[in-house]
Subunit: 207 residues, 2 copies
């Protein structure tokens, strides 16, 4: 049994979809950011980083979306969610996920979480102002080169797909023009039709 | 034959050390940031992200340090640079590397690369001002909980070690007090005594 600690509208949805696709035996637990539950002593014992997602496994707790996604794919190999026995193809998938985590998600985070990197309200406002440009530049690269189609890595569906889908939920609010990235939008639509994705989103809304 | 595109004093050193530890057949190629070579058309063909590291392999080019490190460990299994056949232990190592990439390195990057996230010079200065706090908080977590000792993952040396060592080169310049993180400093010292590390650094200086 796995327990996924999640918050709605965050990147934890990617791991949630991956668990669903893997056919894992899991439960979800809401961490309520509205009451800063991620800072509670109970949650800090689970994840001292005070963030989501965190995945409680029989062997211990894991954090960081790229690590969780690869773990779910490797732990449930029969689901075929990552290339196996091909270090290069696996690394290509990991590189995509790492880019989402450390470049695209970070560009996005300057809209809502600027306080992580500056205290001055004017500086935080200046960060917010640049978010559309910074995030759009990431999507332009994905549209042009990284997204192979129909899935991120090409013919094969992998855990990179729920990750891109999850982050692509935020692009309109980040000020990205969807008309400039039709392949990303088409990928998002295709993902939203999967039963696993519908179920994960419905379960988060009901939690 | 592998080719590692690197720049001195950047995170590419981590992959360089890992290649050396793996006993790989590789060459290094300097990308000169002083003349913005990372933006040159030749380099953009190799890595459209305009960053280092990039690793040219017989199968194609890989980017993103956490992906490269895992690739090197998996491609050269006899070097024992990552847990094999244990998805949980592998994910723990990947989670550490992902934290360095997307939290610690990002906190550091606001000192020199603030232009990525704001245009206003006052905002960029405000980001620089917060770097000591933001980076110190990351090292406090590593010191207290993530670094098991003697190596990052405990008794076993992995590719997480050259990555922490590489990023720890910058901590004094980031305004972190080394006296508060003795275990990180001891790890850095232990790493600096390895012949592989000495050779990688010397080869970068000579390039």
């Amino acid at each position: 049994m796995f327990i996924l600690y999640f918050a709605p509208h965050t990147c934890s949805l990617a791991s949630h979809i991956a668990l669903e696709e893997a056919g894992a035996d899991y439960e979800i637990r809401l961490i309520d950011f509205n009451v800063r539950e991620q800072q509670s002593s109970d949650y800090l014992e689970i994840n001292p980083k005070a963030r989501v997602p965190a995945l409680k496994t029989p062997q211990g707790v894991l954090t960081e979306t790229p690590a969780l996604l690869a773990y779910i794919a490797q732990r449930f190999p029969e689901a075929g969610l990552a290339p196996r026995d091909d270090a290069f193809a696996f690394a290509e998938m990991q590189a995509f996920n790492s880019y989402l985590c450390s470049t695209l998600h970070i560009a996005h985070a300057h809209r809502m979480r600027g306080y992580r990197w500056a205290d001055d309200p004017a500086a935080i406002a200046a960060m917010q102002k640049k978010v559309p440009d910074a995030v759009s530049a990431c999507y332009a690269l994905i549209e042009r080169q990284l997204l192979r189609g129909p899935w991120v890595m090409g013919a094969r569906y992998t855990v990179a797909d729920p990750y891109l889908f999850t982050i692509a939920q935020w692009l309109e609010d980040d000020g990205v023009d969807p008309d400039l990235i039709p392949r990303v939008i088409e990928h998002r639509s295709r993902m939203s039709e999967r039963e696993t994705v519908k179920k994960a989103i419905a379960d988060e809304q009901a939690a």
